[in-house]
């Protein structure tokens, strides 16, 4: 480092800077605990990642977000003064492999906890193993499985909202802005059935009705033949198709209806990692989407969202800064970031030292209630219900205009709240 042309290892400025920095460090809580920590062994989190299989596009972005958040946590001193280490295993988006991977994390890698699973069937397949091994399992799935009480006390979903809350949040807006007669188009399996089963009561509560339910087999690659089932008096088509064939679905919708046709409301799940300006998707212009977190940078977005986007490496269009064709899964991946920060907060609250404190960790998480929007929760404010191990948050409704998704409405946390149907805290460990 040079100062006034003279090259010295320590300039007065740098020493002062260093002193100032270390004073800051000494004052910071992380440093205090470092002095007290029994070891500087890393905290090891097993990241169950969908590196291959049907979830691979999500897995890629989950991995990037995870590593970005972990790096940030480590730069700030780690957890309880210990560095955070992420151990990654591929579960192939397969439930049986998921369970095996959880066992591998517990018995071979000896991690402190397992985290990061997205697809519902993998979560449900892996949950028994987590419960038996008494391994805290922080999922980032948006499935209703955790909140339903059907898993076990070791499974938590504090960083992302679940589909029941999401569906209930958007129903009022749909009824007020798009129409009260809704046709549901959904994949004919558990994920789609959840949308169907949660949406109908929600829209009925708004004075609306579901006029048709069009179930589509999950492996279907061509949808035109189902479209005639949509009744003529439909105001809104609520679509939540997922899988590689989604682009086909939208294209065929457009071909079928042309310029006349009902309003559309979709869940961005359909188009995660897909460029909304892909050829064939022109039909979506002017339609609305639920977004977990806006893909496109919004003009009024807070600084902490700027910071989050920059750190995980997405540009204003929600694609990778290194490759504009690599579109992110921004509606879900924030869950990884927020969950890691929640884990940090819970470990600090529980004074987590090692696997013997796992139950304390869970109890500390269960005790959480408020999660303020900010750098740790860039998606927005959340409320955590410790009984059902599920977080509730805000949802965004965006309109596709001129090739961009612009947020037109933000639902409140309360819009999606529902009564807890189970209580994990009464279960023993």
């Amino acid at each position: 480092m040079t100062s006034n042309g003279i090259s010295t290892p320590f300039s007065r400025r740098s020493v002062l800077k260093g002193l100032g920095a270390s004073t800051g460090l000494i004052a910071a809580p992380g440093f205090m605990r470092y002095a007290q920590a029994q070891s500087s062994e890393p905290i090891r989190i097993g990241f169950q990642c969908h590196r291959t299989g049907i979830g691979a596009s999500y897995g890629r972005w989950y991995e990037r977000t995870t590593m970005a958040a972990a790096k940030l946590i480590n730069e700030a001193g780690g957890i309880n003064g210990r560095p955070l280490e992420i151990v990654i295993e591929d579960d192939g988006t397969d439930p049986a492999r998921g369970a095996e991977v959880v066992e591998k994390f517990a018995n071979q890698h000896k991690v402190d906890l397992v985290y990061g699973t997205l697809f519902s069937h993998v979560v449900v397949g892996s949950a028994p193993a987590a419960g038996e091994l008494k391994m805290p399992y922080y999922v980032v799935s948006e499935g209703y499985h955790v909140a339903s009480g059907k898993l076990n006390r070791y499974c938590l979903q504090p960083g992302i909202t679940d589909v029941k809350a999401q569906v209930r949040s958007v129903a009022p807006w749909i009824a007020d802005n798009l129409g009260k007669k809704v046709t549901l188009v959904y994949p004919d399996y558990a994920f789609g059935h959840d949308h169907r089963d949660f949406f109908e009561p929600a829209i009925q509560a708004q004075g609306g009705e579901v006029v048709a339910k069009v179930a589509i087999p999950p492996t279907e690659t061509s949808f035109t033949r189902y479209l005639p089932q949509i009744p003529r008096n439909t105001d809104v088509i609520y679509h939540v198709m997922v899988g590689p064939a989604v682009l086909t679905f939208v294209k065929e919708l457009g071909e079928f209806f042309g310029n006349s046709g009902p309003q559309l409301f979709g869940f961005i799940d359909s188009l995660e990692a897909v460029n909304i300006n892909s050829p064939g998707l022109e039909f979506l212009d002017g339609s609305h989407f639920w977004e977990g977190m806006p893909r496109y940078a919004q003009p009024d977005q807070p600084d902490y969202v700027d910071f989050y986007r920059k750190t995980v490496g997405i540009n204003d269009e929600g694609a990778s800064v290194n490759d504009a064709n690599d579109v992110s899964t921004n509606a879900h991946m924030f869950g990884c970031w927020e969950t890691l920060f929640i884990i940090k907060r819970a470990m600090e609250a529980a004074n987590y030292q090692g696997p013997q404190d796992r139950q304390k960790l869970i109890e500390a998480t269960e005790a959480m209630e408020e999660m303020e929007a900010g750098r740790e929760h860039p998606q927005g404010r959340k409320i955590f219900n410790g009984k059902i191990h599920q977080a509730f948050g805000e949802q965004s409704i965006s309109k596709l205009e001129g090739g961009r998704l612009n947020v037109v409405h933000r639902t409140s946390v309360e819009d999606g709240l529902y009564e807890a149907e189970a209580d994990y805290t009464t279960q023993s460990f």
């Binding site: 590196r51 291959t52 295993e89 591929d90 192939g92 397969d94 439930p95 049986a96 369970a99 095996e100 066992e103 591998k104 517990a106 018995n107 071979q108 519902s120 069937h121 449900v124 397949g125 949950a127 028994p128 193993a129 419960g131 038996e132 499935g143 499985h145 059907k150 898993l151 076990n152 004919d188 399996y189 558990a190 994920f191 059935h193 087999p217 999950p218």
Partner: protein, 322 residues
């Protein structure tokens, strides 16, 4: 020439030694590997059931996932919805496998060769789609969880918690040993040797007066029962029941395991399942393209070790290996 009806002393000794080694492994293996072997033992039972149809019966089925799934759902649904205890549920699983084996066999055995392959594949697809159709009860691909509390077994007056790693291992080993010894005896029996002879030349057997159809049907029924037993065991030992386990992938897997270990050998299925598991496990730690390694291994095997590991060993060095 006197025909032995019992296995040779060497074979019996070998099999008992394998079982004894596996028993000891419960206490000798590190935790992770013990867990792996628990799963492998149950899946090896599935492979042994498949081996009966494919290795000894000479029938290439691409639909055995349906038998495994029949056991899985038979046990899983009765426990989950009807609150049955383990033994009756297990029985329901095996019964489902037997019934399915008879029905599918009665229809599919009217075909042979490639048509048999396709027909079994299709019946299996129908079964898979059925599990999705009844998502209300099965939760489809998301699946059902059998909680730890229901997975406790009453046996000889004591209660065993099947989710305990050691108990689980021993339960899996018990089932495996039973099926292994059963296979060993049946292939030496009159029925078994007739089945093998049918595999070699069914026309000749027909001319000799054997009812080829009935023999094969019995093979399929027994095979169905064994695979269903594996499925039922998987449900109660690991606590998860889902449509993925009924998909085509689970019809291809036992074929791979049996071919790798050695078709028409008694211990081949276990070896194949074990090796394949570790190949995937080790490969996935090093590369995301672990299935690539599997593909390469398969091609390598099929080029140079076509009879599978034990099959090659039997052909070259140990002709007495059953």
């Amino acid at each position: 020439m006197k025909v032995r009806l019992l296995p040779s002393p060497q074979s019996l000794l070998l099999h008992l030694a394998v079982i004894a080694a596996l028993l000891a492994a419960n206490w000798l293996l590190p935790e992770y590997h013990r867990g792996v072997v628990s799963r492998v033992l149950v899946l090896a039972v599935f492979a042994m059931g498949y081996n009966l149809t494919f290795g000894y019966g000479g029938l290439l089925s691409l639909g055995h996932a349906m038998f495994f799934a029949a056991g899985l759902y038979g046990a899983g649904l009765t426990i989950y919805h009807l609150d049955w205890s383990i033994w009756p549920a297990f029985g329901a699983g095996i019964g489902a496998g037997l019934l399915l084996g008879l029905v599918v066999g009665a229809l599919a055995l009217r075909t042979s060769g490639v048509a048999f392959m396709i027909v079994t594949l299709m019946f299996s697809q129908v079964f898979y789609l059925t599990t999705l159709y009844f998502t209300t009860y099965t939760r489809g691909e998301e699946g059902l969880i059998l909680q730890q509390e229901v997975r406790s077994l009453e046996f000889a007056g004591a209660t065993f918690d099947l989710s305990d790693p050691s108990t689980r291992y021993l339960a899996g080993l018990a089932l495996f040993s039973l099926v292994l010894l059963f296979t060993l005896f049946i292939i030496r029996s009159g029925y078994g040797r007739a089945l093998i002879a049918i595999r070699e030349n069914d026309e000749r057997m027909r001319m000799l007066g054997f009812n080829v159809f009935a023999n094969r049907l019995v093979a399929l029924a027994i095979s169905g029962m064994i695979c269903a037993a594996a499925g039922a065991a998987y449900a109660v030992l690991f606590g998860y029941v889902g449509s993925t386990l009924a998909s085509t992938q689970y019809s291809i897997l036992p074929l791979l395991w049996v071919l790798l270990g050695g078709a028409a050998t008694t211990l081949g299925p276990l070896l194949g399942t074990l090796v394949m598991f570790y190949v995937i496990d080790i490969a996935s730690s090093h590369t995301t393209a672990h299935l690539l390694v599997v593909g390469l291994v398969l091609i390598f095997l099929v080029l140079f070790f076509r009879r599978g590991i034990l099959g090659t060993i039997r052909a070259r060095w140990l002709p007495w290996l059953p």
